[in-house]
Point group: C2
Chain length 147, copies 2
DNA sequence: TATTGTTATACTCTATAACTATA
DNA sequence: TATAGTTATAGAGTATAACAATA
């Protein structure tokens, strides 16, 4: 479907979002590096810290090829942050599970992600609520009071 | 400076921003791939399409090492999208300049970046204005009517 | 046969260090 | 000597294709 072709207000918002993306991304990479992780390793570890899952699921979540996950989990496993465990029900599957140390690293990583938390301090609670609801609608998340 | 440590509303907004970042980033890479460019090549070409600049300046804008730019510009040049030109005032400097074809590719790339433009159609003009002003304040851009 | 994970391969991006040619 | 760009090198991420083990 064709989208409205470039009214100035929309373009301005798009550019602002681009700035947010660049800043957020850079801070994420830097926070990962602080914990001696690459961005991809940090994303996998963060994902697994929420829920252990088979290798293939990780690739689906990260929208990349499954073969890439092998190497990333290899490096996390070599550092003792993640383990591969057999799935009792299907011996083809290997579950990637964070270790205690991996969980700790994931938590510290999350805590060090100040971005958007510090800038958000500029906004009042009411303004944050407005921002939240606008972002939700942009992203197609169902509205607070709608079905 | 310590930031407020995790009120639920702020965390929710941070997570929403994370979702925006992931979606925007994925769409940018995909749009670049549509034009047979990598993300890095697309970023360099987009930058040069606004203003030709010395190799070193590109590295500063992209926050990476200058040695990386050599290869990226090599590949853009091999495809006829960018040229290296001598700087008349300082023979150490090489200016990276997009060709006509490079400018066309950059324009089409920008036009194909529907993200945030399509989702923004969900919002009214008034809501987009509110979103714009909130993002500006978050990013520390001076407010519309403030010094 | 289909699926899961891995390996092998090739390309790109990245940082580091050493090199060249200018200034 | 200092700076701009390059080269050389090594590590990591990525996609593709082929493979072993299991279903």
């Amino acid at each position: 479907m064709a989208t409205s072709p470039a009214d100035p207000l929309t373009l301005e918002v798009v550019e602002l979002i681009g700035t947010v993306v660049a800043r957020y991304y850079a801070e994420y990479e830097q926070a990962a590096a602080t914990h001696a992780l690459t961005g991809a390793q940090a994303r996998v570890l963060g994902l697994l810290s929420l829920e252990p899952m088979p290798m293939r699921h990780i690739a689906q979540k990260l929208k990349c090829e499954p073969s890439n996950i092998t190497g990333i989990v290899d490096r996390l496993e070599a550092r003792g942050l993640v383990e591969r465990r057999p799935d009792p029900n299907d011996r083809r599957i290997k579950l990637a599970v964070p270790t205690e140390e991996g969980l700790g690293t994931a938590r510290r990583l999350r805590d060090s992600l100040d971005f958007a938390r510090e800038p958000l301090a500029e906004l009042s609670a009411q303004e944050r609520t407005v921002l939240r609801d606008l972002l939700k609608r942009m992203l197609g998340v169902e509205a607070p009071g709608a079905p």
